[in-house]
């Protein structure tokens, strides 16, 4: 496979052809924040946190889905990017009802980590305070839409790794919700195999183990990539 050389933040980078900017950056220890990206499943460029500046391009590009190009000049940490990233995180908090102090994922939450990483000391937007449901009809797991950021990791891991596609997204805009089967309660979704991969994949406290209390939802999100890698080697 051909190699591509380019620069990120003035650092000369060598990557394989077809790799994304995000993959190349991570291999070289360069931090680009992500939320919807998950190793082991396809990238969708939904959350826009990994936006980078590319010299010669007027628009910002999501690093998770933009392949490297020979001699491209990438910047990942400019004032404009920092401002946009903080704004994105603030909007995520304002959109639903996130209360870290009493959340099952407190201390183990990617959204919380992002808020710290982007320096979000307060939210400048009015909170929407939408009325969201909690579904704990499944015997093992629960989904709290108050904490969902619509990253669709659950949708992709269920479809691509478990091969079931219990999860999907219904509704548009502020009314969009992740759903199980045909928007049935999770406990009645016949397709669900209760494999728990969505629980592993969820970046926040939205999908949790039933019975979990404050801060108890520790999860090993690398497991998904491990399952995928192990399967590829065997097949």
């Amino acid at each position: 496979m051909a190699a591509r050389t380019f620069t990120i933040n003035d650092q000369l980078i060598s990557a394989r052809e077809g790799e994304t900017i995000l993959q190349a950056a991570r291999e070289h220890g360069i931090f680009i924040p992500t939320l919807c990206y998950l190793d082991g499943v396809s990238a969708v460029g939904a959350c826009r946190l990994c936006l980078v500046e590319i010299e010669g391009s007027r628009v910002l590009r999501p690093a998770c889905v933009t392949p490297v190009v020979e001699e491209m000049v990438v910047r990942t940490d400019t004032g404009r990017l920092r401002e946009y990233r903080r704004m994105i995180v603030e909007l995520l908090f304002a959109e639903r009802n996130h209360v870290c102090a009493v959340c099952v994922a407190n201390g183990h939450c990617e959204l919380q980590d992002l808020a710290i990483a982007v320096g979000m000391d307060h939210v400048r937007f009015d909170y929407a305070f939408p009325r969201c449901d909690v579904d704990i009809s499944h015997p093992l797991f629960g989904i709290d839409h108050n904490r969902c950021v619509l990253c669709t990791r659950c949708v992709r891991v269920c479809d691509e790794v478990e091969g079931v596609h219990t999860w999907d997204v219904a509704g548009r805009g502020a009314d969009a919700r992740v759903i199980t089967d045909m928007r049935q309660p999770w406990g009645e979704a016949r397709s669900c195999t209760s494999c728990g991969k969505c629980v592993l994949a969820c970046p926040t406290g939205a999908i949790f183990r039933r019975g979990a209390t404050v801060g108890e939802m520790e999860r090993d999100r690398n497991k998904i990539a491990y399952i995928v890698a192990a399967r590829e080697q065997r097949w």
Binding site: A101, V102, V134, I136, G187, G211, A212, T213, V214
Partner: protein
């Protein structure tokens, strides 16, 4: 023409409130009202949450006594699971509640009330606070602060943090302390015990010099309510409800806490966010009862530990049986700290604490769960109903300070009658009215299910509504 005196806000209590004193045509105190002006809304916004989250959420009601809510909520959760929790879990919960009693009572006595008691009700208000106490008696102030720290450290040892530990859960607790942590706490017990014995000695001397305050700080007959053990012994975590009258006669005994509605009803007044619970059989407002340290010591047959029982005997001797003056709340608080320290000592050596089994596992087996425990300020009820999956359908919280609402109103009326003369409020009178409230150590953020410091205003209002006098801190 009737007039009104308004104290707003009341200081050195936990939360926000004001007091209004209503005068009749002759300038005599007609009645006094304690207005709780905070509004919280926990009972409403918890609806729809999984009940497993409730201990963590309701602990946030209060930063002083989060443990009380944590435990009552976890117990309501135990009832929904229909489980008996592992012995180690119950003992560890008890240990945390004892730590909570020590730290909260120490805060009430040393930080909030000792400035009145030890510096004097008429002393310079600029010095009549914990800092004034530090200047006047640094040894005592330091000991009091360290006693509170001791209680807080027990909570932190168990729950990982001093405030808002999310440690007790439906079915048990999340973790146990190591033997080394327990040993560290145990070696600090002698200092804590010496502090409370010294405070008891000082307080008992005050009873002789403060006869006027003893007689007017809420000295009236009332019922007393709280939890007792199977043989009527002092209880702080489990047990059954007992009601005793001011003559010492048991009115009702061994009532299952889940049957609290059989004996307690709640009234609402338009001038306060704080509900007015009363003993159902005697009606409103005749069914006034008191809860908290004084009530627990009045209703129990004995405490069950050596030093505390000796102090209880002396307290009863001084009071002539049942202590009817709320001034004795301070006394009872110190006796309870001593009782808590003795029980902590016993629990720290309990071999059950080494058991790895800490959490009972079950699904939703009951749709209604009631959890009751003794908070430092009195009996605390958490009452939940859930759907088949465990989502909260309704929440009713009866908070310790709420039980004392009628008695607090009666107390400030009694103090105002004795100390408020004419249409002006003297500083000493202002402080005594507040101190009458402080005796109950009310926690208003809890009882209205706020945050912040408590400043104080008293207003004196005439019958036609004109404000005659207003004192503001």
């Amino acid at each position: 023409m009737t007039r009104q005196i308004l104290i707003d806000p009341v200081t050195r209590i936990e939360g926000h409130a004001k007091i209004s004193i209503h005068l009749d045509d002759n300038g005599e105190v007609q009645e006094a009202r304690f207005h709780v002006t905070e509004f919280r809304g926990f009972e409403r916004f918890c609806e729809g949450r999984p009940f497993w989250e409730m201990p963590g959420i309701t602990a946030r009601i209060c930063g002083i006594c989060p443990v009380s809510h944590l435990l009552a909520s976890a117990k309501a959760g135990d009832a929904l699971l229909a489980v008996t929790i592992p012995p180690a879990a119950e003992k560890l919960r008890r240990l945390m509640n004892l730590g909570q009693i020590v730290q909260s009572h120490a805060l009430s006595f040393f930080h909030l009330s000792a400035p009145d008691l030890l510096l004097g009700f008429d002393s310079d208000p600029a010095q009549r606070n914990i800092f004034g106490l530090m200047a006047a008696d640094p040894t005592l102030a330091r000991a009091g602060i360290r006693l509170r720290q001791f209680g807080q450290d027990i909570i932190a040892m168990l729950g990982g943090s001093k405030i808002h530990p999310a440690w007790a859960v439906p079915g048990g607790v999340r973790s146990a302390p190591t033997a080394a942590q327990r040993a560290e706490i145990a070696q600090r017990l002698p200092e804590a015990r010496a502090t409370v014995l010294d405070a008891l000695r000082r307080f008992k001397a005050l009873l002789d010099t403060h006869r006027d305050e003893v007689a007017t700080f809420g000295d009236f007959p009332s019922l007393f309510l709280g939890l007792v053990g199977p043989n009527g012994e002092w209880e702080h975590y489990d047990g059954h409800l007992r009601v005793v009258d001011s003559g010492g006669a048991i009115v009702v005994d061994q009532v299952k806490p889940s049957r609290y509605r059989d004996i307690i009803a709640e009234a609402v007044e338009p001038w306060s966010y704080l509900k007015m619970p009363y003993y159902r059989a005697r009606g409103y407002p005749a069914g006034m009862y008191r809860v908290g340290p004084l009530a627990r010591l009045n209703i129990c047959t004995r405490i069950g530990t050596l030093l505390a029982d000796a102090e209880l005997g002396e307290m009863r001797q001084r009071a002539g049986g049942i202590a009817t003056s709320s001034f004795y709340y301070h006394y009872a608080r110190l006796v309870e700290i001593l009782a808590a320290l003795e029980r902590i000592s016993l629990l720290l050596d309990d071999p059950d604490l080494d058991s790895p089994r800490l959490r009972a596992e079950a699904g939703v087996n009951q749709f209604e769960g009631i959890g009751v425990s003794e908070a430092p300020r009195g009996t605390l009820f958490h009452h939940y109903t859930v759907d088949a999956h465990g989502l909260i359908q309704s929440v009713n919280l009866i908070i310790a300070t709420g039980h004392n609402n009628l008695a607090m109103n009666r107390t400030i009326a009694q103090i105002a009658r004795r100390y408020v003369k004419g249409d002006r409020i003297s500083e000493g009178a202002l402080n005594r009215v507040e101190a009458g409230i402080r005796a109950y150590d009310p926690c208003l953020s809890c009882s209205t299910h706020a945050a912040g410091m408590m400043p104080l205003v008293i207003t004196l209002v005439a019958a036609d509504g004109t404000v005659l006098d207003e004192v503001r801190r």
